[in-house]
């Protein structure tokens, strides 16, 4: 290892390092990459960083961090060192996610129909019926093909031994897939030679696959369904992604005010009158979707769209009420859910989870707040979280109060040292930064997962939070065939 890697400290005694094994030697799938990076001088790296920055800026690839004064947009932090996943490891992830998403979809169908799993007492009924994401209005509604979760993005981490574990399921409106696609474009520009050395599985077909999936789930009566993307608007932090996907699929990007419901059918307002819409890939939360049914103050939604959906005149992707299955409390039951519906053992394990609603777990959580990660069941994006070892006594006491007041809303997990990957902090020095992986799963007539996903990286030294809303960045992810 030469040049930029020579001073890299993997600290493999404490962490699972993606590149360097416990013996201190590089893992074989990283050989070519280390060789190539080894040839780079600091100036080479700088020049490539510049190429990447210009690419991102020109594409307008920015991310909004709420609550910050300066400007509304910032460049999404991107790390130049790609993550390499060997094909055999990817196969495990792919099989594991297919299994998991199939089971979760069956679970949702059951919850909104016979509720067999509750009657069999595999999951306590009050956890489901009391969830804020359970939509009783949709019991008995049949989405086309019986599919609820058309686009999902589960977060996968590796523990100290390198086992892949699922950290959470995002079954409502997972974001980030545009960064996965753009990261690849940026890397192709900056490192063409390195690309040539690996057999990297392509991901560029994601938009076509997404469109195909969305067309497959259109209302049965409609041939050649008209698909639109529904965004909250240009001030949403993921707006870039919404417009990017619409452009890549060649469909209209709509805001709530572009859509109108007449006679339980959904239309877009165009310069030539109204045009029928069959499938809405909505990136608007349930609560804002229809002011007639959910929050009456919503300006982002479309009045009447829920009734059109119930009538089967329009398909919503994802379906309404999926949040009940990606709740962090329900998460802890996913292994049972897989066994119950599929009769299989989970291929991807969960992170061990304690439920505050369970009295013995609650006792354990309160006694170990300084060691555990506590999460609010319904929050996402790294909000509403306590990281025990990094917290102050005051924060812990705060959380203890909140947990006792509303135990259903909290879970705790051991602090897992996510695996680390060498990353540039400032283009001159490499540090081991914690990473996770979010592959994107499409569910139409079949389940499709483009190889790879978004690797998020905590670009603060020692930080475990990879969420972009908390200053995390990302890196390109290569699934390679040897």
């Amino acid at each position: 290892m030469i040049r930029c890697f020579e001073r890299y400290e993997a600290e493999t005694s404490q962490f699972f390092d993606e590149v360097i094994s416990k013996e201190g030697t590089p893992r074989s799938h990283y050989d070519k990459m280390l060789q190539r990076f080894g040839q780079f001088s600091a100036d080479d790296i700088k020049a490539r960083r510049e190429i990447v920055n210009i690419f991102f800026r020109n594409q307008g690839i920015t991310f909004t961090v709420y609550g910050e004064e300066e400007g509304v947009e910032r460049l999404f932090p991107f790390d130049l060192i790609p993550r390499v996943l060997p094909a055999n490891e990817w196969q495990t992830i792919e099989r594991g996610l297919t299994q998991r998403i199939t089971a979760l979809n069956t679970f949702l169908h059951d919850i909104y129909h016979g509720q067999k799993i509750l009657k069999d007492k595999v999951i306590p009924a009050e956890l489901i019926l009391g969830s804020q994401h359970f939509r009783r209005e949709f019991v008995g509604v049949n989405p086309p093909l019986g599919i609820y979760i058309h686009v999902t993005g589960s977060d996968i981490i590796r523990d100290g031994e390198g086992n892949y574990l699922v950290l959470e399921d995002n079954l409502r409106t997972p974001s980030g897939v545009s960064y996965m696609l753009q990261n690849r474009q940026a890397m192709k520009r900056a490192f063409p030679v390195l690309f040539d050395k690996y057999k990297i599985r392509p991901i560029e077909n994601y938009p076509q696959e997404l469109l195909r999936t969305l067309q497959e789930i259109g209302p049965v009566s409609r041939r050649d369904p008209n698909v639109v993307v529904l965004t909250p608007g240009i001030y949403n932090s993921a707006y870039f992604e919404h417009s990017f996907l619409a452009r890549q699929m060649g469909v209209e990007l709509t805001e709530g005010k572009d859509l109108v419901v007449n006679n339980n059918k959904v239309y877009t307002r165009t310069t030539r009158g109204l045009e029928r819409v069959d499938v809405v890939y909505r990136r608007v939360d349930d609560a804002f979707l229809d002011p007639l049914v959910f929050r009456p103050d919503s300006k982002l939604g479309v009045a009447g769209i829920v009734n059109a959906y119930r009538k089967g005149n329009v398909t919503l992707a994802n379906a309404i009420g999926c949040g009940v299955a990606d709740d962090k409390v329900i998460y802890s039951f996913v292994p049972e859910i897989i066994k119950y519906y599929l009769g299989e053992d989970p291929i991807l394990e969960n992170v061990p989870t304690w439920l505050a609603s369970n009295p013995s777990d609650l006792k354990y959580i309160l006694a170990n707040l300084d060691k555990l990660v506590v999460k609010a069941a319904n929050e996402s994006g790294g909000y509403g979280m306590l990281i025990g070892p990094e917290s102050t006594i005051e924060q812990q006491e705060n959380f203890a109060e909140m947990i006792v007041a509303n135990p259903r809303n909290y879970i705790a997990q051991p602090t897992i040292s996510l695996s680390r990957h060498p990353s540039f902090f400032n283009d001159t020095e490499l540090f081991g930064c914690h990473i996770d992986l979010r592959p994107y799963v499409l569910y139409g007539k079949t389940i499709t997962i483009v190889p790879g996903g978004l690797t998020r990286v905590a670009l603060k030294r020692g930080s475990l939070v990879v969420n972009s809303s908390q200053g995390g960045g990302s890196k390109d992810t290569w699934v390679v065939d040897e």
Binding site: R57, G60, P174, G233, T270, L274, L300, E379
Partner: protein
């Protein structure tokens, strides 16, 4: 095409054109002072007040500054963010509109708007003061580049036509204001009829008007060196071939509107087509003497008001489709020199900040 997309294309184009015209006014004013050897009098307010009159912004300007000078007027028209018509504001608004339809325009168009926006973020008043010529040229070129890119990377269908309508309506309005203000100034100086306003300084001033429309060379090809106000006005108002004349711009806007609706001569489909057709027909059969007999100022004022009406009808016909409940509030925003983006900017921002998974 979604009405919202059409509307954003329209305003993106309109704001870009407005920024270019403001750059032209400023550029010419600097040049004029050089021509007149009055660079030592560069702070003389009478050379700067006209630029504020052009944009009908006197009140707002006076609330912000206490004098008309190169510094204050440049600051107001280039940088001031509370002035929605400053170059910085216009490009910001053009970009905001582009951003909201980024999936509909070509990525090259977006890059160009975005580049200019970032360029402007880094420009300082000092930079403009040191090299006004270079700065304004940059803005003009950026606008030309944007139009060229649009021409060559964006399908020439309905959306392109909305871009053209906006560009030419805005341009017509700007030329009319420029002529009106210059005429007003010269008239008040000379206290006489335009035929008589022909001292050498006045000729230089009129040449400056031509220059700000990039029209000097084209003018000379038609009228040789007979630079008198009659010919200049005839050229800027009635010439049918020069792209920065009023007649040309109105024709171009008419063509675009008719392409969208399928209207043709003698057969209009909607009120926007009717109003622009009427305007075009009148321009085609008007002689400069008719304008003088009506009174130039009066004529231009009437023209500006009719352009506003065309804009209103475009809005009602295409952007406010089937949305009677929001029409009344939006029309107001669609008038020239106010713009919609300011309104959009506050639109339910908070709700859009939903947490992301």
């Amino acid at each position: 095409m979604l009405s919202r997309v059409a509307e954003s294309l329209f305003w993106m184009s309109r704001y870009f054109e407005r920024a270019e015209n403001t750059a032209r006014f400023l550029d010419v004013n600097f040049n004029l002072l050089l021509d007149l050897n009055k660079i030592t009098h560069i702070e003389n307010p009478s050379y700067w007040v006209a630029l504020i009159l052009v944009t009908s912004d006197k009140e707002r300007f006076n609330s912000l500054y206490d004098e008309y000078s190169a510094r204050t007027v440049t600051d107001y028209l280039v940088f001031n963010k509370s002035n929605p018509n400053s170059i910085t504001s216009c490009i910001g608004l053009a970009r905001e509109n582009a951003r909201s339809i980024i999936e509909s325009i070509s990525s090259e168009m977006w890059e160009q708007v975005n580049n200019l926006y970032h360029y402007l973020q880094n420009v300082t008043p000092q930079f403009v003061q040191n090299d006004p010529y270079g700065f304004y040229k940059e803005i003009k070129n950026a606008s030309h580049l944007f139009q060229g890119i649009t021409d060559n990377t964006f399908s020439h269908n309905e959306g392109w036509d909305f871009i053209q309508i906006a560009k030419y309506l805005e341009r017509t309005d700007n030329i009319a204001r420029l002529i009106d203000v210059k005429y007003h100034m010269l008239l008040s100086e000379a206290q006489s009829q335009p035929e008589l306003v022909a001292g050498s300084e006045d000729i230089i001033q009129w040449m400056a008007v031509l220059k700000s429309c990039s029209a000097l060379e084209a003018f000379r090809k038609v009228y040789l060196s007979k630079i008198d106000p009659d010919n200049i006005l005839r050229f800027l108002i009635l010439d049918r071939t020069f792209p920065r004349s009023i007649n040309f711009s109105v024709c171009a806007a008419e063509d675009a509107l008719w392409r969208i609706s399928g209207s043709s001569r003698h057969r209009y489909v909607n009120n926007a087509d009717r109003l622009i057709g009427k305007l075009e027909a009148e321009l085609s059969y008007t002689a400069i003497e008719d304008i003088f007999s009506k009174g130039l100022h009066h004529y231009l004022e009437d023209l500006e008001q009719r352009l506003v009406k065309v804009g209103e009808q475009v809005h009602l016909t295409y952007f406010a489709y089937h949305t009677p409940e929001i029409e009344s509030s939006d029309i107001e925003e669609a008038l020239p020199f106010t713009g919609i983006a300011g309104g959009r900017a506050n639109w339910s921002q908070a709700q859009q900040h939903q947490q992301q998974q």
